[in-house]
């Protein structure tokens, strides 16, 4: 448990350091790209769905979480890619 908190704290500092200087044109893709990463809860949903076979209600909750998290992940990455594909320099095609 202490170890988990330790990891959490380090990750927080890393996160603060990662994006100090981002040009404003990239704010939207950055937001949507990190939004896709927060879909990592998909892993939690997998565990919650599969590990609860003897309780139908828990499985239903888990499956709903899985569908939503998957939409978040797939939609998030694809939307971000669509946006970034549009940034090109003059003359690029």
């Amino acid at each position: 448990m202490i170890l988990l908190l330790f990891i959490f704290t380090l990750a927080a500092f890393l996160g603060f350091e990662l994006i100090s200087k981002v040009p404003s044109q990239l704010h939207t893709p950055l937001m949507s790209g990190s939004n896709a990463i927060s879909g990592i809860t998909i892993v939690g949903a997998l565990v919650a769905t599969a590990g609860t076979a003897n309780s139908t209600f828990a499985t239903v909750l888990g499956a709903a979480a899985l569908v939503l998290a998957t939409i978040n992940v797939i939609g998030g990455y694809m939307v971000t890619d669509r946006m970034l594909a549009m940034f090109k320099k003059k003359g690029d095609k």
């Binding site: 990891i7 890393l14 981002v22 950055l30 990190s34 990463i37 919650a48 309780s55």
Partner: protein, 470 residues
């Protein structure tokens, strides 16, 4: 699969996320960064499927549920991502973010229900705290995001909704939510604790709505960024619940970087986060602001054409109105014609123009405007000093001189694009209404400003055809 292999792969996935976010911060590497973080996500999911915890319990029935849910999510997510219009991107991100929050809520709920209610197992206090954190933060993220989505897509009014005693009510809801969360964490009896958890679910959903209600549509970018940060924290809390490192790390990365992004946005409006969240900004028109004298003078596209034809230096200042009118392609065409006509053409992008930071950049990039022409505020203001014509397309508050001049104005102090410095200002606008903040814009009353009323796309197209006819 050996748990240490699983954890090792989770470490690899975490590293990929870190590189992904880092690379997303640079224009040249952003697309690759997104792909790298997607690979991290993929291997995290695949290794989880092979995890002992899942294989041991899974029979054909639960594999069908897993496969079915994944497939359904992939189809809906891919379909939505393909179909969504570039102009509706902010709403889309808000909605996706809400889904992520709700997923974390459900993970926490399912975990506790399975352990304590279905199998009467003891759950330690630390796990309970993490559970209720995932539930409450996830719940606020969900309804807050959906409410923001409604405001952005125009399904509900973008105006801030304030009423007497609102802060008291919101504070009360927050307090009761906290009491429910603490009761859940502290109560030894699992049945009573479960009721407290259900209460936390309902209250957090309510809290998301009441918290976003008093925030005006113009501040939605900040809200979405903050909610994005929260959905990361909710995922991180869910990671503590199921003792999973990759959830903790990835969720926390998003949480922390989201906070930084939120602060950057607030700074560009010269406001504090507290002011954005609690001031009810944009609820009434011109409270305490000076009355604007003079009248708005309209100009026909014929006359505007002659001015543009002679212009040597033109700056476009796009705002949300350009997105609404879907005018970006027409604008790009006009910009090209002006360039061929010998004029220097630039685009002045305010950091919070539109409904998300960088919203205008995305739209103009869609229309193939090279990003060297997109100038950030400081540089744009230098160019504007010598500009012949500034064309304001559906932007309002970000060009309002009151921010620099009128101490009574609620947006006083916000850095603006100084459109008024140009020799002539054309403002393309649908009507005489106020901007998203509900403020009258004194720029439109200045002697060097001419209004061109009508749909921005139609107006720009008219100007384009006038150039082509000559």
């Amino acid at each position: 699969m050996n748990p240490s292999i699983v954890n090792f792969v989770y470490i690899v996935a975490s590293v990929l996320f870190i590189f992904g976010i880092k690379m997303l911060g640079k224009a040249e590497t952003a697309r690759k960064g997104n792909a790298i973080s997607a690979v991290g996500m993929l291997i995290a999911v695949v290794v989880t499927l092979f995890d002992r915890q899942i294989l041991d319990f899974a029979d054909a029935y639960s594999w069908a549920i897993l496969g079915g849910s994944l497939a359904l999510g992939v189809i809906i997510g891919a379909f939505a991502a393909k179909k969504v219009k570039m102009t509706s991107m902010p709403e889309m991100v808000a909605l996706l973010n809400g889904f992520g929050g709700l997923a974390s809520l459900l993970v926490g709920w399912a975990d506790y229900y399975f352990k304590a209610v279905a199998n009467s197992a003891a759950v330690d206090t630390f796990t309970k705290i993490a559970t209720v954190a995932a539930v409450v933060i996830g719940g606020i993220t969900f309804t807050g995001s959906v409410y923001a989505w409604g405001k952005l897509s125009g399904k509900i009014s973008g105006r801030a909704k304030v009423y007497a005693g609102q802060k008291l009510v919101n504070g009360f809801v927050a307090l009761v939510t906290l009491v429910a969360a603490i009761s859940f964490s502290a109560w030894p009896d699992s049945n009573i604790a479960y009721y407290a958890l259900i209460a936390s679910v309902v209250l957090s959903l309510l809290l998301g709505v009441v918290a976003v209600m008093p925030i005006g549509g113009g501040d939605m970018p900040v809200v979405i960024s903050l909610l994005n940060s929260l959905s990361g924290l909710a995922a991180s809390a869910a990671g503590f619940v199921i003792q999973n490192n990759v959830l903790i790390v990835a969720g926390c990365l998003v949480g922390a970087s989201g906070v930084i992004l939120t602060v950057i946005m607030c700074k560009s409006m010269n406001r504090t986060l507290g002011n954005v969240l609690f001031s009810g900004f944009g609820s009434s028109s011109s409270k305490g602001a000076q009355k604007v004298d003079g009248e708005m003078k309209a100009i026909s596209t014929d006359d505007a054409y002659y001015v543009l034809e002679a212009a040597q230096n033109v700056v476009f200042i796009p705002g949300y109105g350009m997105a609404v009118a879907q005018a970006q392609h027409a604008v790009k065409e006009l910009a090209e014609i002006l360039e061929n006509n010998g004029a220097e053409v630039n685009f002045a992008i305010h950091p919070v123009a539109g409904r998300m930071p960088g919203h205008m950049n995305v739209l103009l990039a869609e229309a193939d405007v090279p990003y060297e022409q997109l100038k950030e505020m400081e540089e744009a203001n230098r160019i504007l000093e010598t500009a012949d014509v500034a064309i304001v397309i559906g932007a309002n508050d970000v060009v309002n001189p009151a921010a620099a001049e009128d101490k009574g104005s609620p947006i006083y102090g916000m850095p603006i694009i100084e459109a008024f410095k140009a020799k002539t200002v054309f403002a393309l606008k649908r009507g005489k209404g106020t901007g998203f903040s509900g403020l009258e814009n004194s720029l439109f009353f200045r002697p060097n400003t001419r209004m061109i009323y009508g749909d921005a796309k139609a107006t720009v197209n008219e100007l384009v055809s006038k150039f082509k006819d000559k």
